[in-house]
C-alpha cells in the first residue's frame, strides 16, 4: 500500500460519516480519474471542544490537577477510540466502493485534529479538496455551512469543491466570472486543466448592474479560454448577481458551479456578510471554489 509521504499530489476526499460523505467520495473518484491522480480518503478525528461530565462541586483538593488530568484523559481516550473505529470503518467501506469501480490508486488517511488543521499540514499535496458543505455537527439542520468551511476556503491554497448533493454525472458546468483574480483562476481550472472532461458544456456567466459591463467581462473571459474547441456558451446579464446566477443554474440544468472566493477581509465579511457565503448557502449544485 502506498504511503501518504510518498504522494506528491492527490485528490483529497474529506469524509466524516455525515450525509454527504458518500457523494464526496464519488465526486472525488470522478475527479481523480479525470486528473489521473491518486485519491486520498481523509478522515479527521476532531477533539470535541465540550465537556460531558458535570461536576459542579467547585472545590479543590490536594492533587486535584493530577486527578482531573487523569479523569479527562481517560474520558477522551474512550471517546477517541470510538470515533477512530467509526472512521476506520467508514474509510474501509468507501475504499472498497472505489476499488469495485475499478480504481486502484486510492489510499486512506486518518488524522487527529480539525479538518482545517490537517488540510493546512497537507497543503502542498492538495491538488483538489472535496468535502461536504455541512459536517457531523450540522447533521439535522439541513444545508447549513459547516463551522470550518469559511476558514478552509479562505486559507487553504488549493481548489476546493464543496459537495451539497448526491452524485450525478457532470455534463454542464457554469463559471461565474467577475474579472477578479479568483474567478480568473476558476475559469482556467475548468477550461485549461483536465479536471473536467472535454465534452462537458461550459457556461460562462457574467453579471453586472450595467449590461455593457457584463458583456465586456464576457469578452474578457472569452479571451482567457485557450482551448477554442471547447463547447462554451456565454451569458451576460444585468441585475443582482446572486439571483442571476441561481436563475441561470436552474434554467440550464447546471451540474456544477465554479467561482472565485472571498475577496474581502474577515471583519468586513463578519459585519456585512459575503457574496461567497450567500452563494454557498443558496446554491443547489456542487461548487468549485478558487482563491
Amino acid at each position: 500500500m502506498q504511503n501518504i509521504k510518498d504522494i506528491k499530489e492527490a485528490v483529497f476526499a474529506c469524509v466524516d460519516g455525515s450525509r454527504f460523505s458518500e457523494a464526496v467520495c464519488e465526486y472525488s473518484l470522478h475527479i481523480a480519474k479525470q486528473l489521473s491522480l491518486p485519491l486520498v480518503l481523509l478522515n479527521t478525528i476532531e477533539h470535541p471542544n465540550a465537556s460531558s461530565v458535570t461536576n459542579l462541586s467547585g472545590n479543590l483538593s490536594l492533587g486535584e490537577r493530577e486527578d482531573l488530568l487523569d479523569e479527562l484523559s481517560q474520558e477522551d481516550a474512550a471517546k477517541n477510540k470510538e470515533t477512530r473505529t467509526q472512521g476506520k470503518e467508514l474509510l474501509t467501506t468507501l475504499k472498497e466502493k472505489v476499488k469495485v469501480q475499478g480504481f486502484e490508486d486510492v489510499i486512506t488517511l486518518q488524522r487527529h485534529g480539525t479538518l482545517y488543521e490537517n488540510l493546512k499540514d497537507l497543503e502542498e499535496k492538495l491538488r483538489v479538496v472535496l468535502f461536504g458543505v455541512s459536517g457531523m455537527g450540522h447533521f439535522a439542520e439541513g444545508v447549513e455551512i459547516g463551522s470550518q468551511v469559511e476558514d478552509i476556503i479562505r486559507d487553504i491554497d488549493a481548489p476546493i469543491i464543496l459537495i451539497n448533493k448526491e452524485f450525478t454525472p457532470i455534463h454542464k458546468v457554469m463559471i461565474a466570472f467577475n474579472g477578479a483574480s479568483g474567478s480568473v483562476r476558476a475559469l482556467e481550472e475548468v477550461s485549461a486543466s483536465p479536471m473536467l472532461a472535454k465534452d462537458v458544456k461550459r457556461y460562462i456567466v457574467t453579471v453586472n448592474k450595467d449590461i455593457q459591463k457584463a458583456q465586456e467581462l464576457s469578452h474578457q473571459a472569452k479571451d482567457l479560454i485557450q482551448d477554442k474547441s471547447l463547447n462554451c456558451e456565454y451569458i451576460s446579464k444585468a441585475g443582482d448577481p446572486l439571483e442571476s446566477i441561481l436563475g441561470c443554474i436552474d434554467n440550464n440544468d447546471i451540474d456544477m458551479l465554479s467561482i472565485g472566493s472571498y475577496s474581502h477581509g474577515k471583519l468586513k465579511t463578519a459585519l456585512f456578510g459575503s457574496f461567497t457565503t450567500k452563494l454557498i448557502k443558496n446554491v443547489k449544485v456542487p461548487l468549485i471554489i478558487l482563491k
Binding site: A50, S51, L56, G58, L62, L72, L267, A270
Partner: protein, 498 residues
C-alpha cells in the same frame, strides 16, 4: 484582526457547560477577590471590579479559551507597599502601566521567553503561590476568639465533605454551601466575628470609567514603574503557566503571545475602571475545567455574574463572616499546591529539587514571585552549565618518530569548562611538535577561545611548534572572530603583562 477575537467555535461550542461552570467560578471568585483586596490593603470593591473587568475582557481578547483571569494573590502581594505609601490612585495608574508593558511583551512576542523557565521553577512558582495564599490568611486567624477557628474548620469540613452527598453534592458548589451555612449561622446565632462588611467598601454601582487622579509627571512614573515591571512579569508568568495547565487538561492549544497582549488590554481596562491589576488564576481555571467550562463563554459568564451578584447582593455579602472566606482560601491554597511534586522529590535529581525549593524559599521570604523565578532560572542555568561542562575531555597521544604530541579535544568548551580545558594540557612536557585536534570540539564563547589562545601561546613559548587542525565550522567562526593566537601583534599585547 478583530474577527479572531470573535471565533464562534471558541464561544458557543459548549454553551451549557460554559454557563454552569461560569456560575460556579463566579461564586468562588467573590471570596477570592475580597480576600486579595484585603492582602493588597484596598477596599474589597477594588478587587471585585478588577475580577469583573479582567474576566469579561479576557473572555474576548485572551489567548486561552476557558482560562479564568481576575484579581490574584500573586499580584496583590506585589502592590502592598505601593498602596501603603502612595495610595489607591497610584495603584490604578500602575495597573494601566502594567497593561501597557504586557501589551508590549505580546507585541514583541516575549511569550517565547517562557522556554527559559524550567519545569522545576514552574513547580516552585506554583507551590510558592499556594504557600503565600495560605500565609495571607494567617492575619485573619491570629488574635481572634475560638469561634473563628471553629467556623473555619466547619467551613473546610463542608467544602470537602459536602460533595460526597449523593446527587446534590456534585450539583451545588460546596464553597457556596459553606458561605450560606456559615453566614446564616453567624447571623442567627449572633456570634461576634468579623464579617466582609468590616473590611471596607463593597461595590454598590456598576464600575465607571475613570482616569487615575495622579500628577502626570516623571516623578510619578518613577514611583509606579518598578511596581508595574514586577506586576507585568508576574502576571504574564502566572498567566502563561496557567495557560499551559489548561492546555494539558483540555488537550488543546493556546496562543501565548495573544494571551500576553490580552492580559495587557485587560489590565489597562481594569485600571481605568477602578480595579487592581490581575492575571490568570491557577485554582479558578482548574475549577472551571472541572465544572465543565471549555470556551470563552465560561470566562465571560464568570465575570458578568460576579458583578451582578456583587452589585445587587452587596448587603448580603457584607454579612458573610471572614471565617468562611478563610476556609475557601485555604481550599484554593491546597488546590494550587502541586502535590505530585512533593511525592516526586525522592526520585528527582538533587539539582532539580534545589531549584524548586530555592524558588519557593525566595518567594516566601520576599513575597515577590518574579524574584523567585529569577533565582530559580539562574540556579537552573548554572546547574545546566555545570552538567554540560562534564562533557569535555582531552585525549593525547605521542608519536616518537616525529616527536609529536597530539591532543584531541572532545566535547563542549565554554566558560564553565574553559579552565578544565586549559589544565588538560601538559605544559611541562618537552616536545618538538604539538597538534591540537579540535574536530570533535565545540567552542561556544570567548571564554573557550581565550583558553585556547592561552594554551597555544604557552606551548609556543616553551618552544614547540603548535598546529591546530580540524576545527569545524562552528568553532572556526568563533576563533576567527575572537581569536588572537595567529596575529603576532596581538600576542605581544597579551604577553606584555607576563
Amino acid at each position: 484582526m478583530l474577527a479572531k477575537y470573535l471565533r464562534k467555535d471558541e464561544w458557543f461550542s459548549n454553551i451549557r457547560g460554559d454557563i454552569l461552570s461560569g456560575l460556579v467560578v463566579a461564586l468562588a471568585l467573590i471570596p477570592e477577590a475580597i480576600a486579595f483586596s484585603i492582602i493588597a490593603g484596598v477596599d474589597p470593591k477594588v478587587g471585585l471590579y478588577a475580577s469583573f473587568s479582567m474576566a469579561v475582557i479576557i473572555a474576548f481578547v485572551g489567548g486561552r479559551p476557558g482560562m479564568i483571569s481576575a484579581a490574584t494573590g500573586a499580584m496583590a502581594l506585589l502592590m502592598v507597599t505601593l498602596v501603603k505609601e502612595h495610595g489607591l490612585e497610584y495603584l490604578l495608574a500602575a495597573t494601566v502601566l502594567t497593561g501597557i508593558l504586557q501589551m508590549l511583551a505580546g507585541r514583541f512576542k516575549l511569550g517565547q521567553l517562557m522556554s527559559f523557565v524550567p519545569r522545576a521553577v514552574v513547580v516552585g512558582f506554583v507551590n510558592a503561590l499556594a504557600i503565600l495564599i495560605f500565609m495571607a490568611q494567617l492575619p485573619e486567624l491570629s488574635n481572634v476568639t475560638w469561634h473563628v477557628y471553629a467556623l473555619t474548620l466547619a467551613g473546610l469540613g463542608i467544602i470537602y465533605l459536602f460533595p460526597y452527598i449523593p446527587k446534590i453534592g456534585t450539583l451545588l458548589p460546596s464553597p457556596l454551601v459553606t458561605i450560606v451555612v456559615l453566614t446564616l449561622f453567624v447571623y442567627f446565632i449572633g456570634v461576634d466575628v468579623r464579617t466582609v462588611g468590616d473590611m471596607g467598601q463593597l461595590p454598590d454601582t456598576l464600575p465607571i470609567f475613570l482616569i487615575p487622579d495622579i500628577p502626570l509627571n516623571f516623578e510619578t512614573l518613577l514611583i509606579i514603574l518598578p511596581y508595574s515591571i514586577s506586576l507585568a512579569m508576574v502576571g504574564l508568568l502566572e498567566s502563561l503557566m496557567t495557560a499551559t495547565i489548561v492546555d494539558d487538561l483540555t488537550d488543546t492549544k493556546s496562543d501565548k503571545n495573544q494571551e500576553c497582549t490580552g492580559q495587557g488590554i485587560a489590565n489597562i481596562a481594569t485600571g481605568f475602571t477602578g480595579g487592581m491589576a490581575g492575571c490568570a488564576m491557577i485554582g479558578q481555571s482548574v475549577i472551571n475545567i472541572k465544572s465543565g467550562g471549555r470556551g470563552r463563554l465560561s470566562t465571560f459568564v464568570a465575570g458578568f455574574f460576579l458583578l451582578m451578584m456583587v452589585v445587587f447582593l452587596s448587603d448580603i455579602i457584607s454579612i458573610i463572616p471572614m471565617a468562611a472566606l478563610v476556609a475557601i482560601m485555604i481550599m484554593v491554597s491546597i488546590g494550587t499546591f502541586d502535590w505530585g511534586s512533593i511525592k516526586k522529590l525522592k526520585t528527582l535529581p538533587i539539582s532539580t529539587n534545589i531549584v524548586m525549593i530555592a524558588t519557593v524559599v525566595v518567594v516566601v521570604f520576599t513575597h515577590n514571585l518574579a524574584l523567585g523565578v529569577f533565582v530559580g532560572v539562574l540556579l537552573a542555568s548554572l546547574f545546566f552549565a555545570n552538567k554540560i561542562s562534564h562533557f569535555m575531555y582531552n585525549e593525547s597521544s605521542y608519536d616518537e618518530a616525529n616527536d609529536t604530541r597530539t591532543y584531541k579535544v572532545v566535547g563542549q568548551v565554554f566558560f564553565n569548562s574553559a579552565d578544565k580545558f586549559y589544565e588538560s594540557f601538559d605544559f611541562k612536557e618537552v616536545v618538538e611538535n604539538i597538534v591540537i585536534d579540535l574536530s570533535k570540539a565545540h567552542f561556544w564563547d570567548i571564554s573557550a577561545v581565550h583558553a585556547l589562545d592561552k594554551v597555544v601561546i604557552k606551548l609556543r613559548r616553551e618552544g614547540a611548534n603548535v598546529k591546530l587542525i580540524g576545527h569545524n565550522e562552528a568553532s572556526s567562526t568563533i576563533i576567527d572572530r575572537f581569536g588572537i593566537h595567529d596575529k603576532p601583534e596581538e600576542i605581544e599585547k597579551v604577553m606584555g603583562g607576563h
